[in-house]
Amino acid sequence: MKKISKIITLGLLSVAAVSMSGCDKNDDPKAMVTYEQEDQMARPGISTVFVSSDMKDNFNTTTPSAMGAAYATKFKDRLLALNPDYTTNLLTLDAATFSGVLATDVLSVSLDGATTFYDGTNVLTGRKLSDDVITVELILIFGGPDASEKPGLTDDNVDANDKDFSNAFPYLATPW
């Protein structure tokens, strides 16, 4: 219902916008173009691992400011189902704290230096193309306090992309 009322509100807003734009000199009928959100992401693999199929569309249309309250408990249940032996991880986060961090799906990015998911020193300061993000996440989920637990589950043994990246814009490799 909330979604419907939002759409109706938006509809009214855009009607108001069109009638307003009719008064000024802007002859573009689409001077105010409105959109409805359909998908979102920040950290890689989070929805894949932690959001159940029936909740994915809801997750994709929940703003990050509301995600923690809506999803922290669900993420904790999922974490402990994946790894019943979870105590803490390499970031020294217990299950509730780690789940709370993950449930608010935003990517923290440093404007002051290294930008990487994890490079051995910096943690969650961005995401660069070559970061082995899945292995980092597997370590945090399965590896225990010192990354040594469940070694068969902490690395998918795919460590790099199938094409090299460029140091020049647009950085991504040419398509196959």
Binding site: E38, M41, S53, D54, K56, M67, L111, I134, V158, W176
Partner: protein
């Protein structure tokens, strides 16, 4: 009302199909296979200029080379990069970068304060940079304006992961990954949006960022 009913019917039909694809490839049942299906999001300091930040947004994952020439961005979809640069990190967007794909061109607005926050968006219609969308097999077309660089077009999917092994682990048919993994995304393409902006336009310290796809109403 008609539009609302139709969109709900579409959601109801598509939601019954369940997928499990990482990083966010096809992780949106309601929009799977459409131009708004985000596969990946990257944010990193420019390798070419320490004063710049690069955002990469990929949509439409697992494109076979044979399907890439005919792939295109959805003209009704706007990609929005959301930036929270508040001191408290309330995870509401203080700035947005918005990209539209119309008439063969990508046009990128911002970074600028959004007209509205949350799941509804309004095109900011501010200063922009634009470029022709690069065709499959052509050299990248790069647009530059207002200190911003933009590119849109097909690229190799930069994501790498043994998804098949992961699914086997989850399903209980394997107890560990393979000693030599198989990259499920090798040899496949995505539709990429790449935007480079001066860091000074984003704030200072640390930002929180996320990307959304949004359909024109």
């Amino acid at each position: 009302m008609k539009k609302i009913v139709i969109s709900f019917m579409i959601v109801a039909c598509v939601s019954s199909v369940a997928y499990l694809i990482a990083a966010d490839h096809i992780d949106a049942p309601a929009v799977t296979g459409t131009g708004s299906d985000i596969t990946d999001f990257y944010a990193f300091q420019s390798p070419a200029n320490n004063s710049n930040m690069v955002f990469v947004v990929n949509v439409q994952g697992l494109l076979a080379p044979s399907a890439t020439a005919s792939a295109s961005f959805d003209e009704e979809v706007m990609i929005e990069i959301n930036i929270d640069n508040s001191a408290t990190k309330d995870n509401l967007e203080d700035l947005v970068i918005q990209a539209t794909f119309k008439n063969g061109k990508v046009r990128v607005y911002g970074p600028i304060a959004p007209i509205q926050k949350g799941v509804a968006s309004t095109l900011v219609n501010s200063a922009y940079a634009e470029a022709a969308i690069t065709a499959y097999g052509s050299a990248p077309t790069i647009g530059e304006s207002n200190g911003m660089k933009v590119f849109a077009g097909p690229r190799d999917d930069p994501f790498f992961f043994d998804l098949t092994a992961y699914q086997a682990v989850l399903a209980g048919t394997a107890t560990k990954f393979k000693d030599v993994g198989v990259d499920t995304f090798a040899g496949t393409n995505v539709m990429s949006l790449v935007v480079e902006v001066p860091k000074s336009t984003l704030g200072s310290g640390t930002i929180n960022t996320w990307v959304t796809s949004n359909r024109e109403m």
